[in-house]
C-alpha cells in the first residue's frame, strides 16, 4: 500500500530512473553481440525494446539479470538498479536481486516452468527464498497472487502441474511468480509471442493493469510493433546489437527518425486497401470435409472417441486467387492443408480438383471430359498427376529443407519425381537457376547447403522448390510466421508477384490477421474444426458477423501511425 502511494508520488513528479543500462557491450569470441547500448527506465513506465531476431534484445535482458550463457562475456558497461551497480555485486548478492528486485517472464510458457513441480510450489519457492515465508503463509500468498493474475479456482490450481494448464494460464503463473516479491522492475521477454491472439490480448491487458496498480516498471521486449503500440510508454529499437532510435511512444509512431525504424514500421502496418474480387473458375472445392482421428484406449485399444480435427468444412479456392484460412492453434486449419495433399486420410467429404486446361490447350494428356476429380479416393499412384498441381510451403524455414542436400538437389527432387520439364540434367540445371533468380536468389547459390542461408532466404528456396513442378495451387502453411517483419513483407510481395505471373492459387493458412489484406481475396475463419465465417476480405474484416471473428479482430493489437 505504502509503496503504491510512494510510486504515485514519484510518477507525479516525473519519476526517477529505476533501472539504467550504460554502455553495455557483450562479446562472443571477440565479436560484439551487444555494442555499447545505453537506456534507462523510469518508475512505473513500460519501456519497449523492439528488434528483429538476432538484434540482441533478449541478450540485453539476460545481461541485466546476469544470466548470460557462459560463452558470452560482458566487456564493458554498468547496470544501475536503484543506484547499485549490478555488475559489481558478488553472485550471492545478485541472487537476492533476482526475483526480488528484478523479476523476469519468458517467451515460452510451455517450457519455462518445471514440469515435475506443482505450479503453486514453484511460486511459493520465490516467497520462501526472498521473504522467508513459511508453509501456509506462502500458500495463502500464492493463492491471492493467482487470484490477482486471473487464474480461476486458485486454491485447486495451486496443486496442479504445468501440463494441466493452458498456455495462457502458464504465462499467468509466470507473472504471478514474477510479482510475488513485488519487484521494482519486471522484464517481459516476448511474453505473448507463443500465445494465440485472444490470449495475447488478455495477458497484455493483465500486464498493463498490474503496472497501473503496482506502479512497477516493465522492460517489455518484443518484435511486434502493434504490441508496442498497445503497451509501451517509451520505445527503443535495436538492430544488430545497437540501439538505433529511442523515443517516447507517440513521438516514435508519429515521426520515426532512423531509416531502419521507418522501414520496420512501414512493413508492420497492414495494408488498408483490399484486393478486388475477381470472378474466376473454381480450382478446388472442399465439400463437407471431415478428418477425425480415433482415440484408442483400454486393453484392446478400442476406439472410444474421435478428435474432430476437421469437422465438415466446405471451401472453394478460385483460380488465380488466394483464400486465407484464419484460426488459432488447434483449430484444424493445418489439417485441412494436409488432407488436400492426402498426407492424412479424410474421414468423409470430398476434395475436388478441377482440371482447367491451360491456355493454348497444352494439357491434352488429361481427359477433357473429366472436369473435376475427387482426390480423397485416389491411390498414391493415381494421385501422382495431381501432386504436381498442388504444392506446399511450410512455416519453419529451418526444418523445411533437408540439411544434407544442396539447394539444386532440393529443387531438382520434385522435377525428377513428377517428371516435370526436361529429363535432361543440363536443362534442369538451367531451370533451377531460373527459379532461383525468380525467387530473388543467385544462380550460384545452387551448390550450397541450407545452413548457409538466412530464414528468409530459406523460405525463398522453399518457394522455388514448390514452383519447380509448375503447380496450380500452393498451400502456404503459415509461411511467414517465423520470419521477421521486414523479411515477411518481402516474402509476401514475392508470393503476390508469382501469383500474378503464373495465375497461381494460394490456400494461405495463418493466425496473423494483419497480413490478410495484403495477400488474400477471400477469408475463412476457422474454430474447432469448423468454418464459422467466410467471405470476401472486406466483408469479414470490416463487418464481421460471427462473434468469434469479432473477438479475433478486437483482440489483435492495432498499430496506427501518422508517419505513412
Amino acid at each position: 500500500m505504502k509503496k503504491d502511494i510512494l510510486m504515485k508520488e514519484l510518477t507525479d513528479q516525473e519519476a526517477s530512473i529505476v533501472l539504467s543500462v550504460q554502455n553495455l557491450t557483450v562479446l562472443v569470441n571477440d565479436s560484439p553481440l551487444i555494442n555499447n547500448i545505453s537506456f534507462s527506465i523510469r518508475g512505473g513506465e513500460i519501456f519497449a525494446l523492439v528488434g528483429e531476431s538476432g538484434s540482441g534484445k533478449s541478450l540485453t535482458s539476460l545481461a541485466i539479470m546476469r544470466l548470460l550463457p557462459e560463452a558470452l562475456r560482458v566487456t564493458s558497461g554498468t547496470i544501475l538498479l536503484d543506484q547499485q551497480d549490478l555488475f559489481q555485486m558478488p553472485e550471492f548478492q545478485m541472487q537476492k536481486v533476482r526475483g526480488k528486485q528484478i523479476a523476469m517472464i519468458f517467451q515460452e510458457p510451455m517450457t519455462s516452468l518445471n514440469p515435475v513441480m506443482k505450479v503453486g510450489e514453484q511460486v511459493a519457492e520465490v516467497l520462501r527464498v526472498h521473504l522467508k515465508l513459511s508453509g501456509s503463509n506462502a500458500k495463502n500468498k500464492v493463492i491471492s497472487l493467482f487470484d490477482e493474475v486471473g487464474i480461476p479456482e486458485a486454491k485447486t490450481r495451486y496443486d496442479w502441474y504445468p501440463h494441466q494448464l493452458s498456455g495462457g494460464q502458464k504465462q499467468r503463473v509466470m507473472i504471478a511468480m514474477a510479482l510475488a516479491c513485488e519487484p521494482d522492475v519486471l522484464i517481459a521477454d516476448e511474453p505473448t509471442t507463443a500465445l494465440d491472439v485472444t490470449i495475447q490480448a488478455q495477458v497484455l491487458k493483465l500486464l498493463k493493469e498490474i503496472r497501473d496498480k503496482r506502479g512497477l516498471s516493465i522492460l517489455f521486449i518484443t518484435h511486434d510493433m502493434a504490441v508496442v503500440n498497445e503497451m509501451a510508454d517509451h520505445v527503443a529499437v535495436m538492430k544488430q546489437g545497437e540501439i538505433v532510435e529511442q523515443a517516447e511512444k507517440h513521438e516514435f509512431f508519429r515521426n520515426p527518425q532512423h531509416p531502419y525504424t521507418q522501414k520496420l514500421l512501414k512493413d508492420a502496418i497492414p495494408s488498408h486497401s483490399f484486393k478486388p474480387e475477381i470472378d474466376s473458375k473454381t480450382l478446388l472445392q472442399l465439400t463437407d470435409l471431415k478428418v477425425h482421428f480415433p482415440i484408442k484406449k483400454g486393453l484392446f485399444q478400442r476406439t472410444v472417441g474421435y478428435v474432430k480435427a476437421v469437422d465438415g468444412v466446405t471451401l472453394e479456392i478460385k483460380k488465380g486467387q488466394t483464400l486465407a484460412l484464419v484460426g488459432e492453434s488447434g483449430s484444424g486449419k493445418s489439417t485441412i492443408g494436409q488432407a488436400i495433399l492426402k498426407l492424412v486420410d479424410s474421414t468423409s467429404g470430398s476434395v475436388c480438383f478441377s482440371n482447367i486446361p491451360k491456355k493454348g490447350g497444352e494439357d491434352q494428356t488429361e481427359n477433357p471430359l473429366e472436369q473435376s476429380i475427387d482426390l480423397t479416393h485416389l491411390t498414391e499412384k493415381q494421385m501422382k498427376p495431381f501432386r504436381k498441381k498442388v504444392q506446399v510451403i511450410f512455416q519453419d524455414p529451418f526444418s523445411a529443407l533437408n540439411p544434407r542436400m544442396t539447394i539444386d538437389e532440393i529443387i531438382r527432387e520434385g522435377m525428377v519425381s513428377l517428371h516435370v520439364g526436361s529429363g535432361n540434367k543440363v536443362d534442369q540445371d538451367q531451370r533451377i537457376e531460373e527459379l532461383l533468380e525468380q525467387v530473388g536468389l543467385l544462380p550460384e547459390h545452387k551448390k550450397r547447403y541450407p545452413h548457409e542461408f538466412s530464414g528468409g532466404q530459406r523460405q525463398r528456396i522453399g518457394i522455388a522448390r514448390a514452383l519447380a513442378v509448375e503447380p496450380e495451387l500452393i498451400i502456404c502453411d503459415e509461411p511467414t510466421s517465423a520470419l521477421d517483419v521486414t523479411v515477411r513483407a518481402q516474402v509476401l510481395s514475392l508470393l503476390e508477384d508469382l501469383q500474378q505471373k503464373y495465375q497461381l492459387s494460394f490456400l494461405f493458412i495463418t493466425h496473423d490477421l494483419s497480413i490478410i489484406p495484403a495477400i488474400a481475396h477471400q477469408v475463412a475463419v476457422m474454430k474447432e474444426g469448423k468454418i464459422v465465417e467466410q467471405g470476401s476480405v472486406e466483408q469479414v474484416m470490416h463487418s464481421p458477423k460471427h462473434d468469434y471473428t469479432k473477438a479475433l479482430l478486437s483482440s489483435a493489437p492495432k498499430i496506427f501511425s501518422d508517419f505513412i
Binding site: 539479470m65 544470466l67 557462459e70 550471492f92 541472487q95 537476492k96 536481486v97 533476482r98 526475483g99 526480488k100 523479476a103 523476469m104 519468458f106 515460452e108 517450457t111 519455462s112 516452468l113 518445471n114 514440469p115 515435475v116 513441480m117 519457492e125 520465490v126 527464498v129 526472498h130 502441474y161 501440463h163 509466470m174 511468480m177 484406449k297 483400454g298 486393453l299
Partner: protein, 325 residues
C-alpha cells in the same frame, strides 16, 4: 493401474514365448535329443534302440514342433517345444545334469547373489549421482575436465583388471580381507566388501559421465533459467529442480536393472567364490549343462520384463505427466 499391469503382463506372454522359441531353437534343434542321448550314453557304440530308450526315459521322445501321430490339439501339444516351454512358465526347470532340482538350486543361490549385487547397485548409484551433481556444480572448470579424463581412464580399464589387482593388493599383499569365500550373515561381510567396492569402482567412470551428461542437458533447459531468475542459488537449482527432472531419464536405464540383480554377476561371483546364481551359471556354461543355462535364460527374461513394467510404474511416481492406462 491394475488394468495397466494386467495388460503389460499379457503383453509379456508373446515375448516369453519368443524367448522360448529362441532358446529352444538353440538348444534342441542344434543339439537334438539324439545328440544328447549319444553324448550322455558315451562315445561307445550306441544303437538306435539305446537312444530311443534314453529319450523315453528322459521325456525327449516327442517330435520338436509338430506331432503327426497325436490327434486334434495334441498335434501341437504333444511336442517337445510345448512341453518344455510350458514347464518353464510355471518355473519348473527340471533337473540339472548332476541330477539336482534346478528350481531349488536357484532359490538357494539367489541370496548370495543379491548380497553382492544389491549393495553394489545401490551404493554405486548413489555415489555416481552424487559425484555427477558435484561435477555439474563445477562445470567448465579445470576440476571438471580432470575428473572427466579420470572417468574415461577408469572406464577404459577392463573390469577383470580391477578384480585381479584388487585381490592381489588387498588380499594377497596386505591381507585385509580373505581372497574368496562366503558365509551367511554378518560374518560374511568380510567376504563381500572387496567385490562390492570393486564393483562400484569399476562402474564409476561410465556412470558418472552418463549422469553428468543428463544433468548438463537438464541445466540447459528453460525451466532452469526461470529458477535462476527467481534468485535461487546454484545448489538450490540443482537439488530443487534439476535432480528431479534428471531422474526421469535415469529411471529408464536404472529401474529395469533392479530385478535382474537376482541373476548375480558371472565374473564377480566366480572370482570371489560366492555361491550365487552368477557362478552357478558360469559353472553350468563350463560344464555345458544346458538345462541350467536354459533356466537362467528364461529367468533372466522374466526379470527383465518385470523390470520394464516397474520402470513404467516408477514413472507414475516421479513424473506427474505420466498416467498409466
Amino acid at each position: 493401474m491394475f488394468a495397466y499391469i494386467l495388460k503389460r503382463l499379457l503383453f509379456a506372454v508373446p515375448i516369453l514365448i519368443g524367448v522360448n522359441v529362441i532358446t529352444f531353437a538353440l538348444f534342441f534343434m542344434v543339439n537334438t535329443p539324439d545328440d544328447m542321448a549319444r553324448a550322455q550314453l558315451g562315445a561307445k557304440q550306441t544303437t538306435p534302440e539305446m537312444i530311443q530308450s534314453w529319450k523315453v526315459e528322459n521325456g525327449y521322445d516327442n517330435p520338436l514342433f509338430f506331432n503327426g501321430d497325436a490327434s486334434g490339439f495334441g498335434k501341437i501339444q504333444e511336442t517337445l517345444f510345448v512341453q518344455e516351454s510350458l514347464k518353464l512358465f510355471v518355473f519348473d526347470f527340471g533337473q540339472s545334469d548332476s541330477g539336482r532340482q534346478i528350481s531349488a538350486d536357484i532359490q538357494e543361490r539367489m541370496g548370495p547373489s543379491l548380497a553382492i549385487a544389491l549393495p553394489t547397485f545401490v551404493i554405486g548409484l548413489v555415489t555416481n549421482i552424487a559425484l555427477a551433481l558435484l561435477i555439474v556444480l563445477f562445470r567448465g572448470s579445470r576440476l571438471d575436465t580432470i575428473t572427466m579424463m579420470v572417468a574415461v581412464a577408469i572406464m577404459s580399464i577392463s573390469g577383470l583388471f580391477y578384480i585381479i589387482a584388487g585381490q592381489v593388493l588387498f588380499s594377497k599383499v596386505w591381507h585385509w580381507v580373505p581372497i574368496s569365500g562366503y558365509t551367511e550373515g554378518w560374518e560374511g561381510v568380510k567376504f563381500l566388501i572387496l567385490p562390492i567396492l570393486i564393483g562400484i569402482f569399476a562402474g564409476i567412470g561410465a556412470g558418472m559421465r552418463w549422469y553428468r551428461s543428463i544433468f548438463l542437458e537438464e541445466m540447459s533447459k528453460d525451466y532452469v533459467r526461470t529458477a535462476k531468475a527467481k534468485g535461487l542459488s546454484d545448489i538450490k537449482v540443482l537439488f530443487g529442480h534439476v535432480l528431479h527432472n534428471g531422474m526421469l531419464p535415469i529411471l529408464t536405464g536404472v529401474v529395469v536393472v533392479i530385478p535382474t540383480l537376482f541373476m548375480g554377476s558371472l565374473i564377480m561371483e566366480s572370482f570371489f567364490g560366492i555361491p550365487g546364481l552368477g557362478s552357478y551359471t558360469l559353472d553350468a556354461i563350463n560344464a555345458q549343462d544346458f538345462g541350467i543355462v536354459k533356466a537362467m535364460v528364461f529367468l533372466g527374461s522374466v526379470l527383465y520384463i518385470i523390470g520394464l513394467i516397474l520402470t513404467d510404474i516408477s514413472y507414475t511416481f516421479f513424473d506427474p505427466r505420466v498416467k498409466l492406462s
